[in-house]
């Protein structure tokens, strides 16, 4: 079966005062129907720009190019803005990090949920309200009828994010792109929201692209993982492959950095990646990680080869161990 979303050679360049910032560099991945792909990386690695590029929501100073960008049989790279608009919100929805800014404070929750539905599906106000109440119940909000008349500021952060999820589900999308959906939330709420997302995904058969910096979230929710560094995907594979046997030194370093109760010994030094992320302005040659890499060698100055092993791919001069 062909993939639901197929991205090949996605590049996003931003015009900044200092020149051209290569935010996303030749990124490729595929998402099958119903599966969860986590895009993970640190700030500035291009993961959010990748999400916005998929949605066609890039800022004005950005330019998107792709060899292939096909969603559900529609070529997004060639689609007109009107076509993209029609897809967005209907077949392709997005959940943002900060639900308070993503919801319009001037309208009730009911209005906002119904508007999305009626814009894409038409139908009566009553039908839209019924769907909204049904989905609020699905995302675990009790007394849904009453909540529909409330404004975003009357809800807690966790409830707002549930409303955002309900809004994303209104038109029965086949893919949800979630950009750091739980980063602004408390840890106990985060676990609840992720579980909700996972359950709903199974129930409605949606695919999920989850953008996050949190490897813990990735490990628990992802089917497949793409690790980004300096605008590139440096490693991808199933969650089990990437966490059990990380091949790219960056992925391995990142996993070593996290304290894990029961695994890392309290008080012991944690793994660390020296240095900082390189600037992405101007031309970048060779492996962008080589200045921070313990295994760097002269060959790293030219573009690293991509190794593959049973669907596990990594871009590094070092092959299989």
């Amino acid at each position: 079966m062909s993939a639901l979303l197929s991205v090949e050679g996605l590049t996003v360049d931003l015009a900044v005062p200092a020149g051209t910032l290569h935010a996303v560099r030749d990124v490729s991945f595929e998402v099958a129907r119903g599966e969860t792909l986590c895009v993970v990386g640190e700030s500035g690695c291009g993961k959010s720009m990748t999400a916005l590029a998929l949605m066609g929501l890039l800022p004005r100073n950005a330019r998107r190019r792709a060899r292939r960008l096909v969603f559900d049989g529609v070529d997004l790279a060639a689609a007109s803005p009107a076509r993209t608009n029609a897809l967005r919100g209907a077949k392709l929805s997005m959940i943002f990090q900060e639900p308070m800014t993503a919801l319009n404070p001037a309208y009730t929750i009911g209005n906002q949920l119904c508007e999305v539905y009626r814009r894409h599906k038409g139908g009566s106000r009553a039908a839209a309200r019924e769907r909204a109440a049904f989905l609020l119940g699905k995302v675990g909000i009790a007394a849904a009828g009453e909540r529909l008349g409330q404004y975003p500021h009357q809800l807690s952060g966790g409830l707002r994010q549930r409303v955002m999820i309900a809004m994303a589900l209104m038109c029965g999308p086949s893919l949800i792109v979630a950009d750091e959906p739980t980063t602004a939330l408390d840890v106990t709420i985060q676990a609840q929201i992720l579980k909700l997302l996972k359950d709903l995904q199974a129930e409605f058969g949606m695919a999920l692209v989850l953008i996050t910096h949190d490897l813990g979230v990735v490990a628990r929710i992802a089917d497949r993982v793409a690790v980004m560094y300096a605008g590139e995907v440096v490693e991808r594979g199933t969650a089990a492959q990437v966490f059990a046997a990380p091949r790219h030194p960056y992925t391995a370093g990142l996993i070593d950095c996290i304290p894990v109760p029961g695994r890392t010994k309290p008080g012991e030094r944690l793994g660390a990646i020296p240095g900082t992320v390189p600037a992405l302005v101007g031309t970048i040659e060779g492996c962008a990680f080589r200045q921070r890499c313990a295994f760097a060698q002269p060959a790293c100055a030219s573009a690293p080869p991509v190794h593959a092993d049973a669907g596990h791919e990594w871009a590094c001069v070092r092959g299989a161990a």
Partner: protein
């Protein structure tokens, strides 16, 4: 045995205005906290947003006064203590390395500020000590004349640490020092904090919402919920056997990078309490799966259970049997 810092029955209330004509309401940000901070320990304080942990940090730093209760530093009440004496012994590291450094001052002068305030040495001496401390926290001396805007998040947090340590304090209050940082930078900062603790014999109060980080660095942990400490225990004990249902939920919510474990079920309800209108009895009862009638009526007191203390009726000898 006398503790380095003693916190007894500390309260802090804020009055919150909700519009021009609405009645002012009182937010009990910190609602009766007793703690002892022992020399050389790392006291972790864990809790979620709105639990009062940052307010507590500011009270310990003397930045805001407690509404009630007493805080003593080596037996001396903070109220009778000169602010500078307190400042020389207790220093902060804040969460946001972008907000905690004055964007209009050079790095060296930011780090030297405590020395300037306390009139320690002349300007060249202050600068020399600031640069020495910058190098100690892993920053090159050539950054001394840069502005904070030219540094990365991790470098800024190192500057904040250098400023906190330049006067050689005894206690450092770290309020979410790594929450705003990337993981790879977080581990660098945690390693640095652990090294510096050894080198300078520091005592840390380490405030975080991240239980995994606290587990790694703390020797003792206090779990806070709605302005109160609900559990207090040695770090190893809290992770091996959490007593309070809230601690259990918090621990279950830690997402470790272990694929295959799936997402935890925290058994928590959706009824997140309004801090302005906390539920009667135990503040956690609306979300607690084990709540009984008594939990909705009485505020639980601390009950000892082995090396741990938990403010939960389930561990109270009088009410404990109701939970069996």
């Amino acid at each position: 045995m006398s503790a380095l810092m003693q916190v007894e029955g500390v309260h802090r209330a804020f009055s919150v205005s909700r519009g021009l004509f609405a009645r002012k309401r009182t937010l009990h940000a910190v609602n009766g906290i007793d703690l002892e901070i022992e020399k050389g320990e790392v006291l972790g304080i864990v809790g979620e947003s709105g639990c009062g942990k940052s307010t507590l940090a500011r009270i310990l730093l003397g930045l805001i006064p407690a509404s009630a209760g007493r805080i003593a530093l080596s037996g001396t009440d903070l109220r009778g203590l000169d602010r500078r004496v307190l400042a020389a012994r207790v220093q902060p590291v804040f969460q946001d390395p972008y907000g905690s450094l004055n964007p209009r001052k050079r790095i060296a002068s930011i780090v030297a500020l405590p020395l300037a305030v306390h009139g320690m040495g002349d300007r060249t001496e202050q600068r020399r000590r600031a640069i020495e401390m910058l190098e100690r926290v892993g920053l090159p001396a050539r950054l001394a004349d840069n502005y904070p805007g030219q540094l990365s998040g991790g470098q800024r947090q190192r500057v904040a640490i250098a400023r906190a340590l330049v006067m050689r304090p005894e206690i450092v209050i770290c309020d979410e020092p790594t929450s705003a940082l990337d993981v790879s930078v977080q581990s660098q900062i945690l390693n640095l904090l652990m090294d510096l603790r050894q080198e300078f014999g520091l005592t840390y109060v380490f405030i975080s919402h991240n239980l995994a980080v606290v587990e790694h660095i703390a020797t003792r942990v206090a779990v806070m919920y709605l302005g109160r400490v609900v559990e207090l225990a040695p770090a190893a004990e809290i992770f091996a056997r959490p007593r309070h249902p809230y601690t259990q939920a918090l621990l279950a919510s830690v997402l470790t990078p272990e694929p295959g474990k799936g997402l935890p079920d925290t058994h928590l309800g959706l009824a997140f309490p309004d801090p302005l209108d906390p539920p009667p009895g135990c503040g956690f009862n609306p979300r607690c799966a084990y709540a009984r009638a008594v939990c909705r009526e009485r505020v639980p007191a601390f009950s000892e259970d082995g090396p741990a203390k938990a403010a939960c009726h389930a561990y109270d000898p009088t009410f404990g049997k109701e939970f069996a």
